[in-house]
Amino acid sequence: MRIIIEEMKKIFHPVMMLIFVLINLLMYYIFIDFDVTVFPNGRPATDMYNIGIEMVEKYGYELDEDELKDFKKVFRQEINKADKYIQADQEFAKLGITNYREYQEMRNGDHENPAIERLSSRIMFEDGVDLFWEIPERENIIEEMEFVNERYGYSYTDGKLTDKQELRIQEIVQSGTVNAIFPAYPVQDNFQTISHSIAITILVSVIFMISPIFIRDYKNNMFGLQYSSKIGRSLFMKKVAAGMLSAFIITTFLIIVYYGMYSTNDIGMFLESEINSFMGSVYWYDFTFLQLILMTVLLTYVIMLSMSLLAIFVSSICKNYISIIGILLPLFAVVYWLIKTRALPVEAFFLTRTQWEIGIIYSIMIMIPTAAISWKVKRKQRIDITD
């Protein structure tokens, strides 16, 4: 353990720590800050979010039939309010609009009418009347719920579903899980972007800190002393352990910091919601939002640890720093792409993602670095230390 601590001291070199902090400040500012400070982002995201809260507070985590009726009642009340608003407004009268339905029809029917565009732009953007934002969203929710059998899961799969996908949708609908109240837009979307940004920030930080692990000793001509001391060649394993432990510490620290910031987004009330909701997407698994977050954290760890192991391996075979960067850069690009498109939950567990593909990605991600390191460990036992 003492050797591991000594090795970790070298990893957490003050200059490295300084740049580590700088990298994180910058990446936070460029990639994460926006999704933390601006949530929900504009309209109708804010309205959707507010309706979601209202629903969870009123109906709990599921919307049953009675509650749907109640929701419709609220919807009708809102329309009545909108009607009153319209009747009170002179400009609507000028255009001959007397209630919300007429207003809606005119908007849908007559795109070219500049007067109506001007008017709706005034009430939506300038005055920002909540009613006119919320009503379409409520209408949407009601429609999604009423047509759940016909529409759920189809909207974003082009209607071409495999039997397995079909079955999964059926399962969710029939078990009633689909009644879950979970405003995927904007809650899930926000989580998706932010979890990507966090993962990538941690990835850069971890790779930066861990990569010099062996080359630092090589450059300092330490090999002769190290491998002739009592610990001998087993130092290699100790150093790998030190690297992995450091990667774990860095990852944990950054996850706490960044997810701590994420927690200021006020999504606490949805943590218990099922994510397979009529208001959202279809997943292969029955998770609550909290479980989805925990899975994301777990897989973030897997990615970070496997990439650290790979970085450790690269560090042990490289003779100069430029080679390390040159080799790790394309690998980083691949993992970046994986994180952005498929490797993390939200999209990893989507109905559109075949689960064996995700399995293969993670198997490769775990197996290649492990195999490389064990090859290196075995080799290290046998070869001459000439450096």
Partner: protein, 418 residues
Amino acid sequence: MRILLYEIRKVILSPVILALTVLFLGFNFFLIYENSYIKDDLRSINQLAHMYGTEINAEMLKRMQSDYEASLEKVNEITNSVVSKKYQNMDELYSDRTFYIPEKFSEKNIQLFNNTALLDFYYNNSLHIEESFLSRDPIKIAEYELKVYGISGPAAELIRSQFDNFSERYKEVHENNEYKHLFPAQSVWETHLLLFKTMFKALLIESLILTVLVTAYIMNFEFDRGTYLLTYSSKRGRKLWLDKFCASLITNISILSILFVISLAAYFSVFSYKEFWHVPISSYFNAGKEWFMSWWNLSFIEYLAAAIVLAYLLIVLFTLMTVVLARWIRNSYLVFFTFLCLFGVIFINQGLFPNSSILFLLGSFTPVHLILNSVVWFMQRAITFTAYYEIITIVAWFVILLLFVMYCTRSFRKCDLK
């Protein structure tokens, strides 16, 4: 000269740099391949341009019209015989949902439909091109941009003070008919985005990465290998630092050239621009969301050349920047990451200033902003407000960085080498 060659050889023989260059080229080929589905359309557009010329004028429109009408008639004959229907225009045919075109018509007929549709599209858009152009008011667009970026106060005033130039250029484009040319339509094929955003950005970022690696590698080679006591005490002495500096510049420029020549050769061999080399870049067909006319009357090839020159200048600037860093940081690993941080700091510098401050506007006058926005180089935009945005940025940073480099040269000559 010999020293220079030896210095360059050190990096050229480094397998990592070679491998990365090859990998980057492979990636660029992939980008081209991924977008190659538009190449047949581009060939058709070239044929069209070949037939009618690229300049839109009354005579050309007339020819187009008669051809279009003849072609449409043929189409109608065919549709009449197959589905007993006639159409006013191609849109109507394509939006007819009562049958499925590939099922009812032969390959040859579909080809005719497509050609007619293309002719239809180009004829109708050419016919209304003046209206469309006039409907885009540069001042209005600029005001909208101000609103989007939330720019106010002195900054907004500064931009507004340039509005005369905005309109003047707009008038000029209108009068000299720069906008009245055929070009692969941005709204459909997005070739400007493909070339100047996707390809250029990839090329620029790739060269940037290699630039930083190469420069850090060359500048710190002797410190890395522990040969610095030998080399800097040789007859050449500290001047070797300047040789290394030149070697970095030459290598970076060469790598950029290799990447550009090979990638662009591949690009233009896949995507045909045969008829469009001399079409003004401000052709209204080339207008996109973020741009619709350039500050200068440039043909496509001139614009491309200008963009390439700018790319070279940027790489030189970033070489200077890395040289300065490598002067003070002898570990090339840290040079690379410090460069990334510096890049990030320059990128976010505008966040330090309120949106009303002129400094906020000047904050975008950096090579970092330039390298990330190749798609709007030389284009009229509110946020960069002057026609000389690129030139000012490049010149100003050249001066600053050259001063830094000179300071570094002097300080290196005088520094202790332990």
